[in-house]
């Protein structure tokens, strides 16, 4: 019962409190409390793998849900810990209204995402996904500039349009389940049992619409522009939240549909679709990472790339599916660290242009160090987690002997590595233009660096020592997808 309370009841209370109270310090404490409670509850669900909700409800926490809840709450807690230093440093009257809305929106975001992860009813998924978009609108529109307005508009419009397509997909799923179960019994578990009897034609159409609809929210290739604009124009903590947890929730919805499709004989078609979408996303991100002037857009495209890898992993199946899930977890770590440091750099230099960042190691020594580590992390160098998850995806590809997509994947990874290292190392090493750089107060070690370093370093033990707590639930998820390791 406590877990239900922590998961579903505490966030709304925190939201109401945040709306009511006007002191930022109190709001931050309450949100942090709600976040930590949520994290403990989801860890409990993850480790014990038991469903706190009574059976038969529309809400239930299956192993897949437990894993994604952990990702959500972990990123949420990191962001909430980073936010006070961020809010404190954005002075100026025009931000007061956005600052006022900041914590309520964060709590509402937590509630909405938890609902998405917990609800089992397909039709209800559409409504709850809409809620997560609403919670993000005030957060993205924080700076109130013309660019952020345009970003909000595009994000809101494209994601809602995407969700319309998801609802069409749900309707087609209903058609394919005609005669097997009516809409009241539209629960994930029952649908997976009834999967073989579903009408394959409508199931294909349903999966197509759902994939296209969710791509807008996940950030997969054809529909990624709205998402990229929003992530690159949002403030640093919100961008970290979007890149880390929002995309994983959307991936969960895709996995729910894939769970149903995985049982039927149209699975090869669904896999081909996912592989195509994944490779297309990596290709598109390679195009824009190769030469980019704005380092926040660079990170946004890096998210598109990593989500492409995850879609590729899910598409390949087998060990690659385990790699995809791990990649989700490690991607949220890496993106949090990167966006926190991007926030520090943005505030100290005031510009998002890569050329403007000079003398980073003298002005912000600690941020430069974590920025370098995060660059190595996100590009997939071994000691860090992303390398091991990409290794699983590659193992899956080689097991499936899919040499074409393997060589394409590796070539694109190489292009992306060149683009990323050219930009990021330029920022790290570029000397100041004038010979005698102005003496500026060097940055002192603060919480953001600790958070960034923790996020990057935490993945190493997880990847190398593979703690049973995490990996048993992952194996349970794989069993749910019919994959035996």
């Amino acid at each position: 019962m406590i877990t239900i309370f922590a998961l579903l009841v505490l966030p709304p209370i925190a939201t109401v409190f945040a709306i009511w109270s006007s002191s930022a310090r109190a709001n931050q404490r309450v949100t942090l409390l709600a976040g930590i409670a949520h994290l403990l509850a989801s860890l409990h669900c993850l480790v014990s793998q038991e469903n706190p909700f009574p059976s038969g409800w529309w809400l239930a926490v299956d192993p897949l849900g437990g894993f994604f809840l952990t990702i959500l709450s972990h990123t949420f807690v990191l962001v909430v810990l980073y936010s006070p230093s961020f809010l404190q440093r954005t002075q100026g009257a025009e931000y007061d209204h956005s600052k006022r809305l900041f914590y309520p929106a964060l709590n509402f975001y937590l509630l909405a995402n938890t609902l998405v992860l917990v609800v089992q009813q397909f039709a209800m998924l559409w409504v709850v996904l809409e809620l997560t978009t609403f919670s993000l609108v005030p957060l993205i529109f924080f700076y109130r500039t013309k660019d952020s307005l345009e970003a909000v508009w595009k994000y809101l419009f494209l994601v809602s349009l995407g969700l319309v397509f998801v609802f069409v997909g749900v309707l087609f799923l209903g058609i394919s389940a005609r005669g097997v179960s009516d809409y009241t019994a539209f629960i994930v578990s029952r649908m997976t049992e009834a999967a073989p009897q579903l009408n394959p034609l409508w199931l294909k159409a349903s999966f197509i619409f759902v994939l296209v609809g969710l791509s807008a929210k996940i950030g997969l290739a054809p529909m990624h522009p709205g998402d990229v604009d929003a992530t690159s124009n949002a403030p640093a903590p919100v961008a970290a939240l979007m890149a880390g947890s929002l995309r994983s929730t959307a991936v969960l919805v895709l996995l729910r549909f894939y769970q149903v499709v995985g049982r039927t004989d149209i699975q090869p078609f669904a896999q081909k679709l996912l592989i195509f979408a994944g490779l297309l996303s990596i290709a598109v991100s390679a195009i824009y990472i190769w030469r980019n002037r704005n380092y926040k857009r660079l990170l946004a495209y890096s998210s598109v790339e990593h989500l492409g890898i995850i879609a590729l992993g899910v598409g390949i199946g087998g060990v690659a599916l385990l790699g995809a899930l791990l990649h989700l977890l490690f991607n949220s770590f890496g993106k949090a660290a990167l966006f926190f440091m991007a926030g520090n750099i943005h505030r100290s230099y005031g510009s998002r242009e890569i050329e403007a960042i000079t003398d980073l190691q003298r002005r912000l020594p600690w941020s430069a160090f974590v920025w370098g580590l995060a660059f190595l992390y996100i590009v997939g160098t071994p000691p860090f987690g992303i390398f091991f998850s990409e290794l699983f995806v590659l193992r899956g590809m080689i097991h499936a002997a899919d040499w074409l997509s393997l060589s394409l994947f590796l070539a694109l990874l190489m292009v992306i590595f060149i683009g990323m290292s050219r930009a990021m190392l330029r920022m790290l090493h570029a000397p100041s233009a004038n010979s005698a750089p102005a003496v500026v107060d060097r940055e002192r070690l603060n919480l953001s660096h600790a958070l960034g370093f923790y996020a990057v370093a935490a993945s190493v033990p997880l990847a190398i020592f593979q703690p049973p707590a995490l990996f048993d639930s992952l194996h349970a998820i794989l069993a749910a997808f019919g994959v035996k390791l």
Partner: protein, 657 residues
């Protein structure tokens, strides 16, 4: 014994944290490098004693991600460990004096020293780990530590550019290796090299993929021809003690990899051997030809590393052919030549790079056209550099000759034992090696003559400088090591006997093939005795006549200026012209405008066709990706169009599949 090695690694680990504790840079450079040196001495004593009293030992522990991780000390690993530790010791000692100049220039040394220590630590780990996954992890750490050590003097743009070349090359090699080891893991189910070796059922397709990606991955790191492009860019960028290590042992990790692949994988396909032979020959000949055309010391030495890697590749290809045709004698000879040349190259290339470093401190700029007469300024470095130059050309009394001699012997034995076209090809390879020897003599006489002999071309007064103690110890130590391995080849062979024993199965047969080379010392000692006797006779005869100094004979022209000396480009112009198809030789000069010409300038540049090829590829990718940048057009109506287009496209696919 293993305790010594463990102590060494522990000291390195401690040394990683040292820069954070000690504040003052000057004391830090000395203390940090000395701790490294002590750690390496312990490591060296372990590896040397393990090599001499050899029995294969291994220690393993369990890691969930990588299964059973084995730290194995077999012949090959111990030999490479010994070489790496020896040169790291030389590098650390040299760094003690070399870094002082950077400290005076105000560069912060703390970050650099920790990365330098990490480089030494990871180099030792790479050759000792027998588990493929942990090998990849250590491989990448080594690559990154080397990158961050290279970009030490970050102010300059070409340093960053050189570092970037290096980083891209090592990442590409990493991707190839990942594929190679994953395919091996897929077919055997485990990560250990021994399981790869004992597994019998490789079908030809997987073997082809594993070998090609493995050779490509290790080839990029070793610097075989089409992939060598990062070497001449990374070496001038790095400070001398790092570029010395980079060229002496870092690229040898690639050689270790290829040697390991040759030992593990079942050799059925001889065509890979011939392929490796061809690539190595091309790398060797073109490497030295490009070196001849260079005017920057470090860039010249970097191209020379490509040549020596080519020579080592020749030995390895003979070893592979020996395995394919089941001729253990060829395998032993090939490996003996390759491994001994690895050791020799590590020693004299390290010596030459450290020499180039001390020359760089005098001349502040790598271009040898501005140098000259440094033998009188830094005599000890000059002697060391001379011995290094002689041994790199493979001339008799020194160690370069011994390993090339073994490789020649493997060619001729190969020509005896193999049939069909093999003798012809092997003879051509031998002639290629000789041709390359001639080019190397031309290249290093040019380098040594222009830099150390004659007057200084930039008109600098040549006063004798006080050479720092540590750098002269290192230089003369390495030079003496060249002499010892050269004159007494038995010592070098003693080090590689364990590897040969494993290869040929029984210890005594390998001795029977390789040992005759050990007796060469009688010949060399006889030669040295002859030289000493004749020199004494000459001095005695000269003693009875007058010996005086005079002006150099200028054919009657009295006002001879230093600029009239022969220049480096003049010395090599003819040979470089002959290599025109391979060497992109570009010349810019101001034509004669008026009768009384005022400023005249002549600038000739010889760059590398393959480097141009890679740069062209880079621009090609840039243009291609630039052409596709319309996706993010900023117009929401296009984005909505993408949504509908995607749905329609997928629905059509649904109908087809």
């Amino acid at each position: 014994m293993i305790a010594l090695f463990a102590i060494g690694l522990a000291l390195h680990g401690l040394n990683l944290a040292l820069p954070a504790l000690l504040r003052c840079s000057r004391r830090l450079t000395v203390v940090c490098n000395l701790v490294n040196a002590i750690a390496l001495v312990c490591g060296l004593s372990f590896s040397l004693s393990a090599l001499l009293a050899y029995q294969r030992t291994e220690y393993s522990f369990e890691l969930p991600a990588a299964g059973q991780v084995v730290i194995g000390f077999d012949g090959l690993s111990l030999f490479f460990l010994f070489t790496f530790q020896l040169l790291s010791l030389a590098g650390s000692l040299y760094a003690v004096s070399y870094l002082r100049h950077y400290v005076e220039r105000g560069l912060s040394v703390r970050g650099h020293l920790s990365f330098f220590t990490l480089l030494i630590l990871s180099l030792q780990l790479v050759v000792v780990v027998q588990n493929a996954l942990i090998f990849l992890v250590a491989w990448e750490i080594m690559a990154l530590a080397a990158y961050f050590s290279i970009v030490f003097d970050r102010q300059k743009e070409e340093v960053r550019q050189g570092g970037f070349w290096y980083l891209v090359a090592t990442h590409a090699s990493m991707l190839f290796l990942v594929v190679s080891f994953l395919v091996l893991h897929e077919s055997t189910g485990s990560w250990n090299f021994d399981d790869f070796a004992h597994h019998a059922g490789y079908d030809s397709k997987t073997l082809a993929i594993v070998l090609l990606t493995g050779f490509a991955g290790f080839g990029i790191k070793a610097g075989f021809m089409p992939f060598h492009v990062w070497l001449p860019n990374a070496h001038p960028a790095a400070p001398a003690h790092v570029s010395g290590l980079l060229s002496a042992i870092n690229i040898k990790a690639g050689i270790y990899g290829i040697a390991r692949l040759i030992m593990i994988l079942p050799a059925q396909e001889a065509s890979y051997g011939w392929g490796l032979l061809a690539v190595s020959l091309i790398s060797a000949v073109l490497g030295v030809w490009y070196a001849l055309a260079q005017h920057d010391i470090k860039r010249l030495l970097a191209y020379h590393s490509v040549e020596n890697i080519g020579i080592i590749g020749l030995g390895l290809s003979i070893a592979w052919l020996g395995r394919c045709y089941a001729l253990p004698e060829l395998v032993v000879l090939g490996f003996a030549g390759a491994l001994l040349h690895t050791l020799n190259h590590a020693i004299f290339k390290g010596l030459l790079f450290f020499g180039a470093g001390s020359v760089d401190l005098q001349a502040h700029g790598g271009n040898i056209e501005q140098m000259g007469g440094f033998a009188r300024v830094i005599p000890l470095t000059a002697v060391g550099f001379l011995i290094g130059a002689i041994s790199i050309c493979g001339l008799p009394p020194f160690n370069g000759f011994v390993s090339e001699f073994i490789i020649y012997k493997s060619f001729f034995r190969g020509a005896d034992l193999l049939h069909g076209y093999a003798p012809l090809v092997l003879l051509c390879a031998a002639v290629g090696l000789a041709f390359m020897g001639g080019l190397a003599v031309a290249c290093f006489t040019k380098l040594y003559g222009i830099v150390f002999l004659g007057h200084n071309r930039a008109g600098v007064a040549l006063r004798r400088q006080r050479e720092p103690v540590s750098s002269s110890i290192v230089l003369l130590g390495l030079a003496s090591f060249c002499a010892v391995v050269g004159i007494f080849p038995g010592t070098g062979l003693r080090l590689i006997r364990p590897v040969l024993g494993e290869l040929a199965g029984t210890n005594q047969t390998s001795a029977q093939w390789a040992s005759p080379i050990g007796q060469l010392q009688i010949v060399f000692l006889l030669f040295l005795a002859l030289v000493v006797v004749i020199y004494a006779a000459k001095v005695w005869v000269q003693g009875r006549t007058v010996v005086r100094l005079g002006e150099t004979w200028g054919c009657g022209y009295t006002a001879v200026t230093p600029r009239m000396q022969y220049t480096a480009s003049g010395f090599a112009a003819e040979l470089v012209q002959l290599g025109r198809p391979m060497l992109a030789f570009t010349v810019q000069w101001t034509p004669l405008q008026s009768i009384l010409p005022l400023a005249r300038a002549f600038h000739s540049r010889c760059n590398d066709r393959m480097e141009n090829g890679w740069i062209f590829l880079n621009h090609g990718i840039g243009r291609l990706l630039g052409a596709l940048r319309w996706i993010q057009s900023g117009n929401i109506r296009h984005y909505v169009l993408y949504v509908f287009a995607a749905v329609i496209f997928y629905l059509l696919c649904a109908l087809v599949w």
